[in-house]
Amino acid sequence: MVLLLAALSGLSRVEQQRELRWAGDLQGGEPYVFRDPRDPSKLVGFEVELAAALAKELHVRAVFVQNEWSNLVPSLERGDFDVILNGLEDTAQLRGRILLSKPYFNFAEQLVVRRGFPQRHLDQLDGHRVGTLSSSLAHAILRAHPRIETILYGGQEEPYRDLQLGRIDAVLLDSIIATRYGLTKPDLELADPDVARGTYVMGVRKGDETLLDALNAALDKVRSSGQLAAIDARWHLPELPDAPAQEASEDLPQAQMDRGQLWLFLRGAGVTLFVSFLAMALAVPLGLTLALLRMYGGRFSSFAAHAYVEAFRGTPVLLQLYILYYGIAPIVHLSALAAAILGLGMNYGAYEAEVHRAALQSIPIGQSEAAAALGLSRGQSLRLVLLPQALHTALPAMTNDLIALLKDSSLVSVITVVELTKQMTITAVDVRSWAVPGALCALLYFVMSYPLARLAGRLEARLAA
């Protein structure tokens, strides 16, 4: 049995399956691994070529596995693929968790700012907002500067766009990303070309030592034969600056699930509550207005309200958040928090509109006839007779939506808002465990939503009396 398992681990497994399954993320994949613009069925990139060269040395086929970048390590541990080969940075934290190969690329962390921005060094940026990718080496460096407000992004294009828009004051990312995504924008410039240095390495699971050795040997061959240099040159990868930089300050101690983390979780929960309540406070009156327009408005306003509901219900809220935060940024410049509240509020407004419409329609016609017969105007009839009854009917559905919103608010992390779920993923990567942060996160959501359900229950009982 043990022999069988051993036979299935490491190099022998790769040889037996006759393929090297390597993982990366195609999103923002240029120049690492991305779809060939001329033929989207083909993958290109310097890591594609490196993977092919390494697989050839191992006499197997290279097979690409798509995986979200920030979750590459847990997916590797789950056994979804054999090796991470996707700009994985060599950090002390990572070294304790998985096996890392020899470096295949050396890079510098580079600080990019808007042209003419007076602060040129990380040390001068206390109190400023600096963007980077979450769980990157740059993220670890920024964490050593607690007075800098770090803004985390999921893709490498977005931080530079927010930098152009003035939402942040600098971006710290490695030289490949800075060259491809930052310095191609004419209004951005390099402030510090060599904040720290790092290397890209391959990652394999613990227990796959034989595979690691084979990959290292293959990498040595690819390097000594000049293939690696040729690949780097073909992709115009930036060379290291001449000036020797100080070593990357990556000897930070590994984060623990301590009081500091707990405080971050509570802050994340606070953001979740804040965003959810304000979004709901927007959604309810908006939904009510839409429902009234649809039921009592003229032909145009009724059509417009209907169109709004179908448009916002029929498209993903994620897309709406992207459009609000990035899409319309050149015209309307919203802060991340404002875009989050507005986006969720406008989306839920469409659902609330249907809730209120159903509630209004459930009121017997006799109620509005009795109001009319007493001489009440249409407005008075709505305000004094129909709406109080409709809101009562709608209360359970509205509570349900508020609780759903509480959890849907985790979507706003895509526009850089760090709420509870995002904090959980950041902490989980930092402390190298999902169990405790995940349980804490679930507990906090429950602690927030359960009292809401109880409160609504009591409110219903009071209204029914």
């Binding site: 009795a370 007493l374 105007s377």
Partner: protein, 243 residues
């Protein structure tokens, strides 16, 4: 004359519901509208306060005239409705308001009267319908008969010149009909009333005149004795023979 109707026509789509009604009512009269179901009496009543619109003809009520084709939610109907009260078969009390608030709502909101004055009058009216002690109750806590009596007090709170009652006892158990009819009996003479009803004893005993509606026409109009004992039309004779 407080109600005057000339040549009233009303159709639901293809179907002619009212085919030329002419009628008038003097102040203080109590009119019982009777006749077979589908004869048009409820529709006629609802035309008098604009809850139903009509195609042609004219209605003058409480000194105001009602034009054909007026939509039921037209703001122009508000003055008329504060002078013409209505009581429905299904009561239609506002379930979220207590009894007192139901009665006070229209005087406060439509006539903008002072609250103390309105509440005083409302309690007086509730006393009149025998429910002074239930002012704080919600409609759901009342029996059907009690709800209908509150609905009558609610309509009277606007001090209407004409009170329209659309089958006020039809939704009630027999034992509760008596209490509502007793209230109406007390009211007769103090306020002009038009009552759509199947209660022939009430019609004979309380009404000043009985109107028989059949197939969209007013086929009989006379005193209770005249109409029930010696009806002129064959239709009315057939109706009373079945009673």
């Amino acid at each position: 004359m407080i109600v005057e109707v000339r040549n009233l026509h009303k159709a639901h789509g293809e179907r002619q519901v009212l085919r030329g009604i002419d009628a008038s009512v003097d102040r203080g009269e109590t009119i019982a509208l009777v006749g077979p179901s589908g004869g048009g009496k409820s529709t006629f009543l609802r035309c008098l306060n604009g809850l139903n619109s009509f195609e042609t003809g004219s209605v003058r009520i409480a000194g105001l005239s009602l034009q054909p084709q007026t939509p039921p939610d037209s703001p122009g109907l508000i003055p008329l409705r504060s002078k013409v009260g209505m009581v429905f078969q299904g009561f239609h009390l506002f379930p979220h308001l207590n009894v007192l608030a139901n009665v006070c709502l229209a005087p406060l909101q439509v006539r903008k009267e002072a609250r103390t004055q309105v509440e005083e009058r409302a309690l007086q009216l509730l006393g009149k319908v025998g429910l002074a002690d239930r002012a704080d109750a919600k409609p759901a806590q009342l029996s059907g008969g009690q709800q209908q009596r509150v609905a009558i007090a609610r309509a009277l709170a606007m001090q209407p010149e004409v009170l329209l009652l659309d089958e006020p006892t039809s939704a009630l158990d027999p034992e509760m009909r008596g209490e509502v009819l007793a209230v109406l009996r007390d009211l007769a003479g103090t306020c002009t009333m038009l009552v759509v009803t199947h209660e022939m004893a009430f019609a004979r005993g309380v009404a000043t005149r009985i109107w028989v509606f059949d197939e969209g026409k007013l086929v009989e109009d006379g005193t209770p004795e005249q109409v029930s004992q010696n009806p002129r039309s064959a239709r009315a004779r057939a109706f009373f023979a079945k009673m």
